[in-house]
Symmetry: C2
Subunit: 495 residues, 2 copies
């Protein structure tokens, strides 16, 4: 039997993938390089490429090819690829091209205005732009939901994390919401006053050099990627050319460094995707939860560990030419890195309070999509939620609902993957520790190869061959639960 | 009467323009940002976008729309736009999409290998890649020539400079080739020994700051552009987001600075294109000769003038914190800037010897396309040509046929526009001097607004409304000839 239909589909999806890669580089450029005056023109470029992509993916005949390929003799990877192709096609063909273009333009406009509005704590300035993004996203969620047989918010979730559903996330988040407040109180009660850490200022150039050195130690391949600066740190680009970004604060080098290590975790996943499948749907990273698990594995499980910080402390001290200065010992750096401090900003949050930030956003975005919350009422609802969950009232919207790029860039249904990722990271690290001999002693010597080898074999190199759940079961022996995460927190903060 | 066909064409060409803009940013990224390992993947992205562009432009029905629009009631700009649309369509529809893709891929591969080959003076390493570019370009020239009723090389010329023909360029270049050797000898005989100029090193950061300051003085809008670094300086990006590049030599700041001023001339043209036509063919810069005239007007006519250097000398001295040091007076800088020195490198050549570099490349590329010269014989032919025209034998191919990116990136038929641009610049400057009151005294105060205002009215803002020749006649009162250029050289070097 021949594989005529499947072969045609591979050619189509390869070209689609090249357009996605171009879009990804253009998006990185917008965030890291583009002057402000280029925004509206870039929005049009992006909208045009997305429209072309959408038209190619939903062209007459693609559905028939997908149907025909089902009965062709495909191997395991090809069959998984066909499944992912269909997923893409169903998501895309549900939505009219005019809506895709309108949403793309609305997101670009909103993100651009947000950059300034955030700096100036001026929610009103961006409100109409966000309202338009939400309006169009609700329209899309409704249409996709009908096509997929899902509730509108589930249809959004499914874009970022295949098969994730509100009902199961609710269960996990309720479990966390039950465990964490008491745990946080326990931790705060026994937490000693902060030791005096290293004294700045920490020049940007030295921070950058340290970040680059640490990226190399973790295994980042600089022949296939770079480090730059953007408002909101992210990992973008393509598997052959991974672009990660950070932002620098001369008063606090650890914030940027931990951000760099976090994004390096994402980057290692991308750089570890299987070469031969990279321009096919099956060769993509599995989903956002697993992606986030790779960044949090690096940042939270490993780089904030005693072992890693004992290795890194002298390198950090050298990087800032701080020989002989106080505060650079591993114990002090460790205590600073596992400090729990309820605060306003999600990306600065410790791993104990972080889930509260995510759960707030999850609840608010569900309400926005359900139409139970107006965009105009978002700042008040945010403030209320922060008071209830962490006992903090943000002094302005810059420290409140303007802090994250996600909604302003149209990423709704994305936030829960951060905390699903944290739970997944804990579970993966537990399994890696059991499977890889001397894992932590290796980390303590700055040798990441054993860990990276295991991750590449179990996760990175398998891309989207299996479902998230199946990958996790094969790697860790069981489906996702919160036990490893709770155990990790108890060991780190209460022992 | 309605303009149905024309309106459909505008929508199509607007989308095509967005794809061209995306390609332009990706090309800039490849030269200025991309890690080496991203090259093959980027080549595929570029090839995919070019293929999509080509398919859209040559889709069934476009020819019929072009025919139908001819009888619709169009205004002056619309009619010119329709003429440019047809030009694009004829160029594109002549060539099969497979050839477009193959050439794009061959150029990306060749350019990437060239980067390393140039550094290592290793022509053999890039020879097969260049041979493939030439082979495919000859194929394309043949096909386009048949479609356009032109000789193959004329079909290539026409891509960069509409209506330019080998026959008329031969006449102008023969005239120049007759005038210049004797003139060069005269200049070299009376030229005094070089005065001792400013002493380096000149730190890159200070050079960059000076370049940015000078760009602003010339009128570059940083809300719509940036300055970066690449192997071969160029002006890319889009009119809303112009990306110019330079490269720095810590031993010689003037080389980079004059490069920046040159690219700023290109950038001002792009930034001055008419807002409302920027995503239509008629809103593009007219052609490469006129584009080069804008860069050479700034670099050669103005920024190497006594008046400009008298203004700039103290700013330069300040930029390098060289107060009290020798060599920074305007007269010394002026003499250094108008120094004539036959050399190996085109981009470093003075305006007297520059045409010899162009004429050599013009003759060689004509021979390559005609099949009279093999790529394998290029280094020898180059060396022979340099000995004959400038009396110099390049010690290696890095200083010979590897120095320029053009051929390796598939730009064949482009080189003659540099010298056509030099003649045009002289003619335009002559006209501007007559039309704008106190032009040079303004330049002497660092006030570029009167000049820029005239350029925007006469040239930049008219984009491709008229032919190159008609634009030049309206701006200068006559068609292109070499008189203004010769007059300029005589005034500057012999008086």
């Amino acid at each position: 039997m021949s594989v005529v239909a499947y072969t045609k589909l591979e050619a189509l999806f390869s070209r689609l993938s090249r357009i996605e890669q171009a879009l990804s580089i253009l998006h990185w450029d917008m965030a890291a390089m583009m002057p402000a005056g280029g925004a509206s023109s870039r929005a049009e470029q992006t909208a045009a490429l997305k429209a072309v992509h959408h038209e190619m993916l939903t062209a007459p005949g693609v559905g028939a090819l997908l149907d025909a390929a089902v009965s062709e003799p495909l191997d395991l990877w090809q069959r998984a690829n066909l499944r992912e192709m269909r997923r893409d096609w169903v998501h895309a063909s549900a939505v009219p091209v005019a809506l895709v273009e309108a949403l793309s333009r609305a997101c670009s406009a909103s993100e651009t205005v947000w950059r300034k509005a955030r700096q100036e704590a001026d929610f009103k300035a961006v409100e109409p732009f966000l309202a338009e993004v939400i309006r169009l996203t609700r329209e899309m969620a409704e249409i996709k939901g009908q096509a997929l047989g899902l509730a509108p918010y589930d249809a959004l979730l499914d874009q970022y994390e295949p098969d994730a559903r509100q009902a199961s996330i609710d269960v996990i988040f309720q479990d966390l919401a039950k465990f964490l407040p008491g745990f946080m109180t326990q931790v705060l009660n026994r937490q000693k006053p902060a030791p005096a850490g290293p004294q700045g200022p920490f020049p940007v150039e030295m921070q950058k050099a340290l970040g680059l050195k640490m990226m190399a130690i973790l295994g980042f391949d600089f022949d296939h990627g770079r480090l730059d600066v953007s408002h909101h740190p992210f990992c973008g680009g393509t598997p052959e050319d991974v672009r990660i970004t950070t932002r620098y604060d001369e008063g606090d080098f650890m914030r940027s460094l931990m951000g760099v290590l976090h994004e390096t975790g994402h980057a290692l996943y991308e750089q570890g995707l299987p070469q031969q499948w990279r321009v096919q749907p099956v060769g993509r990273a599995r989903g956002m939860s697993l992606h986030e698990s790779q960044s949090l594995l690096m940042e939270m499980q490993i780089c904030r560990s005693r072992e890693f910080l004992a290795f890194a402390a002298p390198l950090m001290q050298q990087s800032f030419r701080a020989a002989g200065q106080a505060g650079w010992d591993a114990q002090t750096l460790y205590e600073a890195n596992i400090r729990v401090t309820p605060g306003f900003i999600r990306v600065d949050a410790d791993e104990v309070t972080y889930p509260a930030h995510v759960i707030l956003r999850y609840q608010l975005e569900k309400a926005l999509i359900a139409g139970r919350l107006d965009v105009a009422d978002l700042p008040d609802a945010w403030t209320q939620g922060m008071i209830e969950s962490l006992g903090l009232k943000p002094p302005d919207d810059r420290l409140g609902c303007l802090q994250d790029i996600h909604w302003y860039d149209g990423a709704i249904g994305y936030f829960p993957t951060y905390s699903l990722g944290a739970l997944t990271a804990a579970q993966i690290f537990q399994a890696a520790n059991e499977a890889v001999e001397d894992l932590l002693p290796c980390i303590g010597r700055g040798d990441f190869r054993p860990l990276l080898g295991w991750l590449r074999a179990k996760l990175h190199g398998r891309a989207s061959l299996l479902s998230t759940e199946a990958l996790l079961i094969e790697a860790t022996g069981r489906a996702l639960d919160a036990e490893a995460f709770k155990g990790h927190l108890k060991r780190r903060y209460l022992s």
